[in-house]
Amino acid sequence: MSLLEPNPKAPQAWFGSLPVTSRYTYGLAGERFFRSLKDNGTFLGSVCPRCERVYVPAVAFCERCLGSLEEWVDVGTIGEVHTFTVLHVNADGTPKESPEIIAFVKIRDGGIVHKLGEVSTEEVYIGMPVEAVLKPAPQREGSILDILYFKPLTSEKR
């Protein structure tokens, strides 16, 4: 007779957590992109003259010709909804109080994944022009969260 019966009083599992922390730096191009966002409230793109592309956020090398990129441009804070999804649950599985719209906002030949705001799930559509709403300058810390969300572009700015 072998030991096959679990003790009903036994703890079923041992719970623990691994203390893993990380510190990520944005790299040469990323550093410059986020500095510009923090200090000037603008998005920087990098231009590949050979491929006639403008990468947003800025990158150090062209992903098409692998050339080093030297030319930087301010691409403003306006883009358009390339695709979006509506979230009803949080990352931990709990339901959200109100649905949240996450979109890929196309800017030139690149774009940024971010939240949409000041727009309902019924109003949003693919191709919708949007503009970034930034934190006030003193509160910006050089993070993607310096952008609060993108909102529908008001007609006079078009």
Partner: protein
């Protein structure tokens, strides 16, 4: 840290660069949470700890009593047939005096982890735990020790239900 005597491409960053804000960065913490299934034998071992007992198991093939218990003998691979309650006393088999914690913090009062051969288990069979209420200079291999338990209401079925082992006073 010693500086390398070759110039590598790239941007080297020091802790001062982060403190001074010379570089932007992002801190992150992974949610590395896990649940480890205790299984039949270790489950029984933890349940016994909650009741203030150290549980072993006996292999009739090898005539060995092992601790903590297992359902299969590690030597002959035969199923183990019975649990054996053991004493909460034992003998220090080996020990270390640590002035640094597991996450590399300096401590004044050393921690003394030790492998303790539990009385009732076969020779050289024991568990890893801490020693306490002892002068670090006086710890020695062969020292007789006894478990110091948490109060019963605070026990939760964990190896930490034993706080530490302390020397058994002579006589």
């Amino acid at each position: 840290m010693a500086k390398p005597n070759i110039n590598l491409p790239g941007t080297s960053l020091s802790e001062e660069d982060f403190k001074a804000g010379n570089v932007l960065f992002r801190h992150d913490q992974l949610h590395g949470e896990y649940a480890w299934d205790t299984g039949i034998a270790i489950g029984a071992y933890l349940a016994a700890l909650k009741e203030g007992k150290i549980l072993g198991a006996y292999c009739p093939e090898c005539r060995k009593t092992i601790v903590p218990p297992r359902i299969v003998c590690e030597w002959c691979f035969q199923p183990i047939t019975e649990y054996v309650p053991l004493a909460d006393t034992g003998t220090v088999n080996t020990f270390s005096i640590c002035y640094v914690t597991w996450d590399v913090k300096r401590i004044k009062e050393p921690q003394i982890p030790a492998v303790i051969e539990i009385d009732g288990a076969s020779p050289l069979h024991g568990i890893l735990h801490l020693l306490g209420e002892v002068d670090p200079q006086k710890v020695h291999i062969g020292m007789r020790v006894r478990a110091v338990w948490k109060p019963p209401e605070q026990r939760e079925g964990a190896i930490t239900d034993i706080l530490y082992f302390k020397p058994i006073e002579e006589g």
